[in-house]
Symmetry: C2
Subunit: 417 residues, 2 copies
């Protein structure tokens, strides 16, 4: 039997399994589990009828390019559709700034490969999205967290961390942020802090990597101006912007995009040539037609209402079941509730108990590059039905109560307030 250890690269040595992907595997193996774990959109919202018609129209055989290899930058008409989507978000981007990617995860990976050398510092929020963490970790970056407040990054900490890392001789060139309904916290970066971030990046000579999969999915209790992307006002060319059709059309078509200053987009194109030649032609056609035929435009308002209702259901259920011991900020969009439990609880240890209750979540520590967050869970309300959300929160609450009892912690009585 060959021993493969000596064959692995240093990058392979640092690779770790994604906590979210792991939960996806658990989920696939047990039908009776209610999942609050992976951020899967609700498939009953997908525009199946439209997809069926579009597929039939595309697969006649009249246009062979529908199933052929295609340009690395992406199917040209889809690039034009993306430019229109960006314009609606206040972002003026030219063709030379766009690269279609095989999901936003590929966007993160390509950015890491083009902009990060081993040992370089990447700054990210505490907590931050695991997909970003993984992409940068595999590029052997040094991941350095910056504290987050309710309205976004703590600038004192940001300046402190940057100064410290640079003083120690490290190269710090990227700050990764998810300004709209952040995965995992659901938080928004405030308008003022978005302005400050742009100003800070120019002053400190860094690039901002702005990841925006959820921006369109804002709820009606929010002024849309608060979701305006940092990229929209990027006069200095400091922002690399990622977004995706996975949450608004469907993730099974792996289609997302990068909008970056042209010289960076050109390098990303080269990296993508080696990564997968091109994003699937059929998937791109499906998405392009969905844009062209107004499916995206029709879907977005429906999705806002759909996910807002689910947020409300989960919030109410949590108030009822765990209002005395748990806290969470109310997200104004997106897919997630970020729930802090009493400090005595370790949510990774609690996972066995949750599985016994047939409920899963993602442990908060997966999102913290400094190893904190052990008493926090990310709960995704996007996929399950209202009934399953209520039932799932009940099961989750049982797991929490059992865990608390086990730890012999006195639970404050509900009559306390």
């Amino acid at each position: 039997m060959t021993n493969y250890d000596p064959f692995f690269s240093r990058s392979a040595d640092v690779m770790r399994e994604s906590a979210i992907r792991k939960m996806g595997t658990v989920l696939a193996q047990a039908a009776d589990i209610i999942s609050f774990a992976p951020g899967y959109p609700a498939p009953d919202t997908f525009a199946w009828q439209d997809f069926r018609e579009i597929a039939a129209d595309l697969l006649t055989g009249e246009d062979g390019t529908v199933l052929q290899y295609g340009a690395t930058r992406g199917f040209r008409p889809l690039v034009e559709s993306i430019i229109a989507v960006l314009a609606a978000r206040g972002i003026a981007a030219g063709r030379e700034e766009i690269v279609v990617t095989t999901g936003s995860q590929q966007g993160l990976d390509l950015v890491a490969r083009v902009l990060v050398d081993p040992g370089d510092v990447v700054l990210l929020e505490l907590p931050s999205y695991t997909g970003g963490i993984t992409a940068f970790r595999n590029a052997r970056a040094r991941l350095v967290g910056v504290r987050q407040e309710a309205d976004g990054l703590d600038f004192d900490d940001l300046e402190h961390v940057l100064a410290r890392e640079r003083a120690e001789g490290r190269r710090v060139r990227i700050l990764y942020v998810v300004p709209n309904f952040q995965n995992p916290t659901g938080l928004l970066i405030s308008r003022e802090k978005r302005y400050l971030l742009r100003e800070w990046a120019a002053r400190r000579d860094l690039l901002l990597l702005e990841d925006d999969p959820y921006g369109d999915l804002r709820f009606d209790d929010l002024d849309p101006a608060n979701t305006r992307s940092i990229k929209a006002d990027d006069e200095d060319g400091r922002v690399v912007y990622l977004s995706s059709f996975s949450k608004t059309i469907a993730p099974g078509f792996r289609v997302a995009w990068i909008a970056a200053p042209a010289p960076i987009a050109a390098k990303i194109e080269l990296a993508k040539q080696a990564a997968d030649l091109c994003t699937g032609a059929f998937d791109q056609r499906m998405i392009h037609e969905a844009c062209k035929r107004g499916v995206l435009e029709r879907q977005v308002p429906l999705l806002r209402r759909h996910y807002q209702a689910k947020r409300d259901v989960m919030s109410s259920a949590l108030v009822e079941e765990l209002g005395d011991v748990a806290t969470w900020p109310t997200p104004k969009g997106g897919f997630f509730l970020w729930v802090t439990l009493p400090e005595s609880i370790d949510v990774e240890e609690m996972l066995q108990r949750a599985l016994a209750q047939r409920i899963i979540y993602v442990a908060g520590s997966a999102f913290f590059v400094d190893g904190s967050g052990r008493n926090i869970v990310r709960l995704c309300y996007a996929t399950p039905s209202h009934e399953h959300i209520v039932e799932g929160v009940r099961r989750f609450a049982r797991a929490v109560r059992e865990e608390l009892a086990e730890r012999r912690i006195a639970i404050p009585s509900l009559s306390r307030a």
Copy 2:
């Protein structure tokens, strides 16, 4: 205006545009060009009617997972289909050895990331497939070529090169080979040399990366036993095997796979989590149904005849038009003729002339990591019709004749023989 040069990684510094992708771009911009350049399968051979039916059956909305995120390893039933495809090729692989990839290019890229550190030597054939070259170059490998004979690698040169690189203190762990109808030469590695390669890899403690996109597309003048993969007899676990549905079903569904020893497959899964989470669910379902409904089985014999006929048309046209000045080995399968022109010709310089004739090819030098091959072209006969192949060869011959005349080289008369 921000200067981005200081932001790029060392990997970004070594990235180069693929010569094949560049030709794809040229092609997309001019409808009257006959292309012998990218290795695109013929879209008129695709099973459009089957795809239309399968898509309609999949997109009813009854099964939400059709358009959802999926397992990084791949859609489980597709993995079973792949195991059956491998079994038909004499390869016994377990589920834990398979990873579905977003095209074989992603397979090459993931292997490079998991098995190659900057500065490591990767051995490859002279010439070799550009996609492999690009993936390893972006991983900042040192690419070292090994001479090729008509029946595969020159073992004297292989031993010499390995000894030299190791004596210089470099880590040499991978030999990349395309044993069946190699891209670009169309050559086969002989059965004896396949045996020797396995034996050599074990003795010298290397892994073989066997890339086999064309093995099924053998012509009827070849004993199938000659295409038996190296992996089929890999008792020592030395072979990482790549193959794809791009040439037999359609490249627009980006679905390929890796079969590797389980510990390597496990690392590749981790790398893929960060690279794109998972291959597109819809594409995987389409391919799985195409396997299940017998589409693949029906297609392969048709494709063998289709491409054999095109090989014959191109060979005959070349004999007629350039038989006095060009030579090529006759491929027994696959997509390519590898045509050596008189030494006075530089095919990159000739490209302008070829474009003026509305014909494109890929310059041979793209496939040589030692910079040789300046008088060789790769001609793909897979995509154009018979008429276009004949007309394209005529145009190509005109470009060659003009180039030779320009260089004032006496052309031997046809009566010479």
